[in-house]
C-alpha cells in the first residue's frame, strides 16, 4: 500500500470517527445532561423524553453508533484492500517467537 493511499485511508477513518463522536456527544452530554430539562417537557407514553434519553435512549444510540462504525470500517478496509482477516496475527506471533 502506497503512502498516499495510506494517508487517504487514515483521513477517511478520522472523518468517520469524528462524525460518530459528534453524535455520541450530542446525545449523551447534550440531550442526556445539558438539555434534559427542556426535553422533559415532551412526553411519550409514561416517559419524559429527556429522562428516557438519559436512562435508556442514549444506550441504544451507543449500540447503533458502534454497529455503524463496524460496517463502515469493513467497507473502508475492502475499498483499500486492507483485509486484516487474511493475515493472522503477525505482530503477536513475532513477539512470541522472539
Amino acid at each position: 500500500m502506497s503512502d498516499s493511499s495510506a494517508n487517504s485511508y487514515w483521513k477517511a477513518n478520522i472523518r468517520l470517527v469524528l462524525s460518530l463522536l459528534f453524535v455520541w456527544f450530542f446525545i449523551s452530554f447534550g440531550c442526556g445532561i445539558l438539555f434534559v430539562d427542556a426535553l422533559d417537557t415532551i412526553r411519550f407514553g409514561g416517559f419524559k423524553l429527556g429522562f428516557w434519553i438519559a436512562q435508556q435512549g442514549s444506550i441504544f444510540v451507543f449500540v447503533a453508533l458502534i454497529i455503524i462504525y463496524i460496517r463502515a470500517m469493513d467497507k473502508l478496509d475492502d475499498k483499500y484492500n486492507l483485509d486484516s482477516s487474511s493475515e493472522k496475527d503477525s505482530a503477536a506471533s513475532q513477539e512470541s517467537s522472539k
Partner: protein, 562 residues
C-alpha cells in the same frame, strides 16, 4: 424447597461449571496465559468482555443506586456504556493491531521508555487493586446474606474460587469461564426483571414496562408518575428530576466514560481476538451484551423503589415479611422506631425517618420484596457471584501480567525463560488474591463508589496516553510521562483529600468547579492531555522507528512497505 437449598444448588452448579471449564482450558504457554493464544472468536470475546466488565457494581449495586438517585443515576448508565463508543472507535482496533500482551507493553514501546512502562505498570496495578477490592466486597455481601456464612468467610470462599481458575487457566481459562458467567448473570438479571415487569405492568419487556401503566392491583397510572407522586408525598426528591448540579453530572459521566475506555482489564480483552476486524466486531458484541443489562437496570430501579415504598411505608413492624428481618440481621436494613408506634415511617426527612436501607441490597432483595418464587431469588445470588468473580478474575490477570510480563520479563529480568515467567505470573495472582481479599474484608464505602474511583484513576492516566499515542504521531515520551504523572497524581490527591484526609469537607461548596471526587477523573484527563501536548511541543520528536510503529498500527492488515 427453601431459598437456602435453591441457593446452594445454583451456586454449587455454577461453580462446578466454572471449575470444569478452568480444567478443560489450562494454559500451557505465556501467550495462552496472557491473551488466550490470540484465537478467541469475536462473539465469545464480546460475551467475555461483557462479563469482565459487568462487575458486582453493575449487577448488585447499580440498579440500587439508581433507585435512590433517580434521574441523577444516569451518570452510571451513560458513563459505563458510552465509554464503549470511545473504546471501539479510538482504542480497540489499534491496540489489537499493535498486538502485544498488555497496556504497559503499548505505553513502553510506543513511548520508547522503561520509565513510561513502569509508570503504566504502577497505574495498572493501582487501578486494578482498587477495583478488585470492590468485587471481593460484593462477593462477601452475597455470601453473608444468602449462604448465611459470615462476611469474612464469604470473601474467603470467593477468593478461593477465583484463585483456582485464574491461576490454572490464565486468560484462556478466564475467557471461557467469563462466557459462562455472562450467560449466568444475564439470565439471573433478566428473569426477575421480567417477572416483576409482568406483575406490575402486564408488560413482559422491562424496558417497555418502565414507561407503562401499573396494573389495577398496583393502583393504575404510569409507573414513573406514580413513583414521582409517592416520592413527593413522603418527602423524597422527585424521581425523574435531577438533584445534583448539571456540571457535576456532566463531569462524573465523562470520568466514567474515559475510565471505561482506559481500564486495562477491558483493553486487554481486545488482544485476545485474531485480528483487527474481529477486535472491532467484538467491541460491538460487547456493548450489545452490556446494553441488555444496562437498559433493564433503570427499569429494575424504578420497580424496586416503588415496591419497597409500597411494602414498608406505614407497615406495622410486627407484620413485615421475612426478608426484612433477614436483611436486618446483616445490618444492611435498620429500623429505629423513633415515635414508638410500631409502624415504619419511611420518609425523606431524616429527623422522623425510621428506616435505613443499604443501596447495595436493592437488586438482591428485589425478588423477595416482589414475592417471586424461591428459585428466582437463588438465581439472582448465582448471578451476582458470577458478576463479581468474572470481573475479579480479569483484574487479577492484569495485576499478574503487569508483574510477570511488564516488570520481570520486559524490565528487570529479560533473560528469564517462558516457564519462569509463567511461574511468576501464577505467583503474582496468588499474592494479588490475598491482598485484595484483605482489602475486600476491610474496605470502606459502597461497592459502586469504590469502583467509581478506579475509573477516575484509569481515565486520568491511561486514556489520554493511549489516544495520543495513536492519533498524535508527534507525541513523545517526555509529554506522555509528564501527562500520566500529572493526571494520576491530581486525581488521586483530590480523591484522597476528600474521602480519607478530610471527609467533612466533602460538600459541593468546597469542590473544585463544583465537581465531586467521583467526577474529578475527567478534569484529570484534561490535565493529562494538556500537559502532554505542551511538554511534547518543547521536547524532541520521537525517533523514526517509533513514528513508523504509529503509521503501522493505523492500518489494519499487512504492514506498510518501509
Amino acid at each position: 424447597m427453601s431459598v437456602q437449598i435453591w441457593t446452594y444448588l445454583f451456586v454449587a452448579l455454577s461453580f462446578s461449571l466454572y471449575i470444569g471449564i478452568a480444567i478443560w482450558s489450562r494454559a500451557g504457554s505465556t501467550k495462552e496465559f496472557y491473551v488466550a493464544g490470540g484465537g478467541v472468536p469475536p462473539l465469545a470475546n464480546g460475551m467475555a468482555t461483557a462479563a469482565d466488565w459487568m462487575s458486582a457494581a453493575s449487577f448488585i449495586s447499580m440498579a440500587g443506586l439508581i433507585s435512590f438517585l433517580g434521574r441523577d443515576g444516569t451518570f452510571y448508565l451513560m458513563g459505563w456504556t458510552g465509554g464503549y463508543v470511545l473504546l471501539a472507535l479510538l482504542l480497540a482496533p489499534y491496540l489489537r493491531k499493535f498486538g502485544k500482551f498488555t497496556v504497559p507493553d503499548f505505553i513502553g514501546d510506543r513511548y520508547y521508555s522503561q520509565t513510561a512502562r513502569l509508570i503504566a505498570v504502577f497505574c495498572a496495578i493501582s487501578v486494578s487493586f482498587v477495583y478488585v477490592c470492590g468485587q471481593m466486597q460484593g462477593a462477601g455481601i452475597v455470601f453473608s446474606r444468602f449462604l448465611e456464612v459470615d462476611f469474612t468467610t464469604g470473601v474467603l470462599i470467593g477468593m478461593a474460587i477465583v484463585f483456582f481458575y485464574a491461576v490454572l487457566g490464565g486468560m484462556k481459562g478466564i475467557t471461557y469461564t467469563q462466557v459462562a458467567q455472562y450467560c449466568v448473570l444475564i439470565f439471573a438479571f433478566m428473569v426477575p426483571a421480567i417477572f416483576i415487569s409482568i406483575m406490575m405492568t402486564d408488560q413482559p419487556i422491562p424496558q417497555i414496562g418502565f414507561g407503562s401503566e401499573l396494573t389495577e392491583a398496583y393502583g393504575g397510572g404510569y409507573l414513573l408518575d406514580r413513583l414521582d407522586g409517592l416520592s413527593e408525598q413522603l418527602g423524597f426528591a422527585t424521581y425523574t428530576e435531577g438533584q445534583r448540579s448539571t456540571q457535576d453530572v456532566f463531569f462524573i459521566t465523562a470520568a466514567l466514560m474515559f475510565g471505561t475506555a482506559g481500564l486495562p482489564h477491558v483493553i486487554i480483552r481486545f488482544f485476545t481476538v485474531p485480528n483487527v476486524r474481529d477486535a472491532r466486531k467484538s467491541a460491538g458484541y460487547a456493548l450489545v451484551f452490556i446494553a441488555i443489562l444496562y437498559t433493564t437496570a433503570p427499569a429494575v430501579a424504578a420497580f424496586a423503589r416503588t415496591n419497597l415504598i409500597n411494602t414498608v411505608s406505614n407497615a406495622e413492624y410486627e407484620m413485615v415479611p421475612e426478608w426484612f428481618s433477614k436483611w436486618e440481621n446483616t445490618g444492611l436494613i435498620t429500623f429505629d422506631d423513633k415515635n414508638n408506634d410500631g409502624i415504619i415511617q419511611y420518609v425523606g426527612d431524616p429527623a422522623t425517618n425510621e428506616l435505613n436501607v443499604n443501596r447495595d441490597i436493592m437488586v438482591l432483595a428485589n425478588p423477595e420484596i416482589a414475592e417471586l418464587p424461591n428459585w428466582v431469588v437463588a438465581l439472582v445470588v448465582a448471578g451476582a457471584l458470577a458478576a463479581a468473580l468474572s470481573t475479579a478474575a480479569g483484574l487479577l490477570l492484569v495485576i499478574s501480567t503487569s508483574v510477570a510480563h511488564d516488570m520481570m520479563k520486559r524490565t528487570f529480568m529479560p533473560n528469564i525463560s517462558e516457564k519462569q515467567e509463567l511461574a511468576y505470573a501464577r505467583i503474582s495472582i496468588f499474592v494479588a488474591v490475598l491482598i485484595s481479599g484483605y482489602y475486600g474484608i476491610n474496605a470502606p464505602a459502597y461497592v459502586a463508589q469504590v469502583v467509581a474511583f478506579a475509573f477516575g484513576l484509569a481515565a486520568a492516566s491511561f486514556f489520554p496516553a493511549i489516544v495520543l499515542g495513536i492519533f498524535q504521531k508527534r507525541m513523545n515520551k517526555e509529554g506522555a510521562i509528564a501527562g500520566m504523572i500529572v493526571g494520576f497524581t491530581f486525581t488521586a490527591a483530590y480523591i484522597i483529600y476528600f474521602k480519607i484526609i478530610n471527609p467533612a469537607a466533602d460538600t459541593a461548596d468546597n469542590w473544585l468547579f463544583g465537581i465531586s471526587p467521583e467526577g474529578i477523573g475527567s478534569l484529570g484527563t484534561v490535565a493529562n492531555l494538556l500537559v502532554a501536548l505542551a511538554v511534547a511541543k518543547f521536547t524532541p520528536e520521537p525517533p523514526a522507528e517509533v513514528q513508523e510503529i504509529v503509521e503501522n498500527i493505523r492500518l489494519p492488515g499487512e504492514a506498510i512497505p518501509r
